[in-house]
Symmetry: C2
Subunit: 136 residues, 2 copies
């Protein structure tokens, strides 16, 4: 099977309600779902410092399957966030690097990450409290 775009993560294109107001939201939503994608964010972070090779990324992330890494990288490449450069050497070598767009997103996401890290204790406390309440 060839790789179809619908296979790529982060593109749960909304199908309903062709309202005027939502036209914006939906486009934005596809970008946000990139951010929400577990692997995409990690990959972007890993590429923040310098370009990386495929297996280098795989090792750094360390819980991702080959398939998912490929899919994630294709998605990022498709969105113009990452470039893919093939060196026709043997053994083959492929470098992935953030584009300017990708770097911009990474800094914005990093801010969100900061917020998350700061308030993580609050959220986890809320979760535990909620779970205790619904357990009884």
């Amino acid at each position: 099977m060839k790789l179809e775009h619908s296979d790529l993560p982060g593109h749960s294109d909304v199908t309903a309600s062709p309202d005027a107001l939502h036209n914006d939201c939906r486009g934005v939503a596809t970008v946000l779902s990139r951010v929400g994608d577990k692997w995409s964010v990690l990959v972007i972070m890993m590429l923040g410092e310098r370009p990386r090779r495929f297996n280098e990324l795989k090792r750094m992330i360390g819980g991702i399957s080959q398939r998912m890494l490929t899919l994630t990288l294709r998605g990022l490449e498709r969105d113009g966030l990452v470039t893919r450069t093939v060196f026709p050497t043997v053994p083959p070598r492929v470098d992935y690097e953030l584009t300017d767009l990708g770097r911009g997103l990474s800094t914005t996401v990093k801010e969100l990450g900061e917020w998350a890290k700061q308030h993580l204790p609050d959220i986890e406390a809320a979760r535990q409290s909620f779970d205790r309440r619904s357990a009884e």
Copy 2:
């Protein structure tokens, strides 16, 4: 079936790689996946202005099923981002409102949304270009 937490969106708790570095990431990831969740963000936006009732939210969003709205609201409530107040009237009435935590997140997310809106043209252009290249 009772509502289990694993049913709630935005909690694809990672199961692998108990590395030291990733302990942070994983907690943060659960927060980020909230942001990436299609419905959560919309709901947070809708509640930005003032508290809303269940069906009010349903109408405003206009493509969401009852089930998903319930699930989304439970998830937000569990994370301490939203409060749920039941008025024991007849017919029953339930108000949802952002907490301080939720408001904090909403402003941060709004910034990300701004970035997304600004660069949406670039991204969509990249997507089309990518799709054309892989079509040939």
